[in-house]
């Protein structure tokens, strides 16, 4: 029997292009007044048309367009696509940072969402205090933090600096501490957004190994976004290929990676027509 832990049904997310809101109180009041009297809104942005698909039509675009999938317990799923394909939007919705416009998402179990490590670090506080605070922000209870405290300090290689205010840390130390905290407080479902690209090369390798170990041994579910195909292929068995807000492909990771490269090659041929940064690779 399939043990579904994440179920995403027909999720869409729309953003306005350019100015967010009208920006000024005056225009918002105008619109409000018009709505109140059921007149035509002088600042109206025409309603979205069904096709959207990332096209900047009418000042809005669909960052996600009717995306549906399911993820079972223990799966590790890589989400790939070019810049602006909707990967981060999807992760933000799953992390409950933003809400979708349409659709329904249901999940089982606790979620660790690492869109960034070290969120809420306070520079004046010691590494020790920040471990507790950051753990709290990640939803951990006090005894859980206590249990892993020594491991975190050891893994981060902070050592004797643990009681120094972290504003005195080097940026590498800060990142190592932040990542160690995150890695030790993983819940059953893990959402990762490129945070593995931290620290120097050796620490990155250490992080990857730690992550793999955590995922394999303890049956966690992983959702992973990265532009680095080798790390996606290493961590994941299944891939979701997003393009302009559509879910193009949902297949084993190697097939998805091949399709992604294919698209990349094609787009290189018609490079002139694509108005994208070159960092799609």
């Amino acid at each position: 029997m399939k043990d579904i832990v994440i179920q995403v049904e027909h999720v869409s997310k729309m953003y306005r292009i350019g100015q967010l809101g009208h920006g000024t109180l005056q225009k918002d009041l105008q619109s409000f007044w018009a709505r109140l009297w059921k007149r035509e809104d002088p600042n109206t942005l025409l309603e979205m048309n069904g096709q959207g698909g990332g096209k900047p039509g009418n000042g809005r675009f669909l960052a996600l367009d009717d995306v549906s999938f399911e993820i079972c317990r223990g799966e590790s799923v890589g989400i790939i696509g070019r810049n602006g394909a909707g990967k981060s939007t999807l992760l933000k919705i799953l992390s409950r940072i933003v809400t979708p416009e349409k659709g329904l998402i249901r999940m089982r179990g606790r979620i660790s969402s690492l869109l960034e490590v070290g969120t809420g670090f306070h520079p004046e506080q010691s590494g020790r205090d920040n471990i507790y605070l950051n753990g709290g922000i990640l939803g951990m209870k006090r005894h859980e933090i206590k249990r892993y405290f020594d491991e975190i300090v050891e893994f981060s290689e902070i050592g004797e600096f643990i009681d120094t205010p972290i504003k005195r840390y080097s940026s590498g130390m800060k990142i190592r501490l932040a990542f160690s905290i995150a890695a030790h407080f993983l819940a059953e479902i893990v959402i990762l957004d490129e945070v593995l690209a931290v620290g120097d090369h050796f620490f990155q390798q250490k992080c990857m190994n730690k992550m793999e170990q955590l995922l394999k041994n303890e049956g966690r579910t992983l959702l992973f976004v990265s532009h680095s195909m080798p790390s996606v292929q290493r961590m994941c068995q299944r891939g979701l290929f997003l393009d302009h807000g559509h879910l193009l492909m949902d297949a084993p990771i190697n097939e998805v990676a091949a399709a992604y490269h294919q698209q990349h090659l094609q787009s290189n041929h018609s490079a002139a027509s694509i108005n994208q940064q070159s960092d799609a690779a």
Partner: protein, 295 residues
């Protein structure tokens, strides 16, 4: 653990387990999830501790800094209003006691209001990256300000005792035992008004820049620096619009037995506070789902 292409199929029978999390498009008003709030009580404690400690990190005077704001302001007011302008006071309340008691409560209110009214502006970068019940932040600010207030009230008690030994004509009343209710009232008021202000202004910088003026005007119109009895009869009605006045005047009455209390003013104050709290929480539950997209 196969990775087959799971087509969209909402007809899959639900498993034995219920869903823990449901994410839907925001409704106009979604109820606050109090049980979830409870799960994060560890974070609440950590935030209170952080706010309290970080304020005086790397200072020589340490926690004494908490006392300086009301003490210095009271000193300035004693000189200006007591000796230069000679504002008429009730009976025999020593000026220092009068200003210190009013300002201590006022600063609790205004500092909390200032923090809560800038909730999204000051915590947006954190709210963008990680989920936790957002209301934890304002509640932790109220609590850490409460710790600060406790220190200030202890100091107030010391000043009071000294003044009594020096022959001041005032004594506390038994009503003073009810003063926690007043502090709670001010906390609720700061929360309600602050959340409402935050929701209304996070989009428009013009509006959020009015806050310092509101707080400054508030200090002069909340009977912090003059007794209610000094207000001319013709404009007495304005008391009914400012819910801070009854709190401060009542606190002074409990403390010294002197003050002018209008019962109907207390009732309107409570009504205004409750309405502001409801509006604040409603507007907050509306904006907390949307502000990340607009900030």
């Amino acid at each position: 653990m196969n990775t087959t292409n799971t087509q969209k199929n909402s007809a899959i029978p639900d498993n034995h387990l219920p869903w823990d999390i449901e994410i839907t498009p925001p409704k106009f008003l979604s109820p606050l999830k109090w049980n979830e709030f409870f799960r994060y009580k560890n974070l609440l404690g950590l935030l209170v501790y952080r706010d309290f400690v970080v304020y005086y990190k790397q200072t020589i005077l340490g926690p004494l800094w908490w006392l300086l704001q009301p003490v210095i302001t009271s000193g300035v007011f004693v000189i200006f209003f007591g000796f230069i302008l000679k504002v008429p006071m009730d009976g025999g309340t020593p000026l220092m006691l009068f200003f210190l008691s009013g300002l201590t409560l006022w600063f609790y209110f205004s500092n909390s209001l200032n923090q809560i009214a800038n909730l999204f502006a000051s915590n947006g970068s954190m709210f963008e990256k990680v989920y936790f019940p957002r209301l934890i932040i304002p509640i932790s600010q109220l609590l850490s300000n409460l710790m600060k207030l406790t220190l200030e009230l202890i100091f107030l008690a010391i000043v009071y005792t000294v003044l009594c030994f020096q022959g001041a004509q005032v004594r506390p009343t038994w009503w003073l035992l009810l003063s926690p209710i007043i502090i709670f009232y001010l906390a609720v008021l700061a929360l309600g008004f602050g959340l409402l202000f935050n929701s209304l202004t996070y989009k428009y910088k013009d509006l959020s820049l009015t806050l310092p003026f509101i707080i400054q005007i508030g200090m002069f119109t909340s009977s912090v620096i003059h007794p209610v009895s000094a207000i001319p009869k013709e404009i007495l009605y304005y008391l009914y619009f400012n819910p801070v006045i009854p709190a401060i005047e009542l606190f002074r009455f409990m403390l010294t037995g002197q003050g002018t209390i209008y019962p109907d003013q207390i009732v309107t104050g409570i009504v205004v506070t409750v309405v502001l709290l409801l509006l604040g929480i409603m507007s907050f539950s509306y904006t907390e789902k949307r502000f990340i997209d607009t900030i």
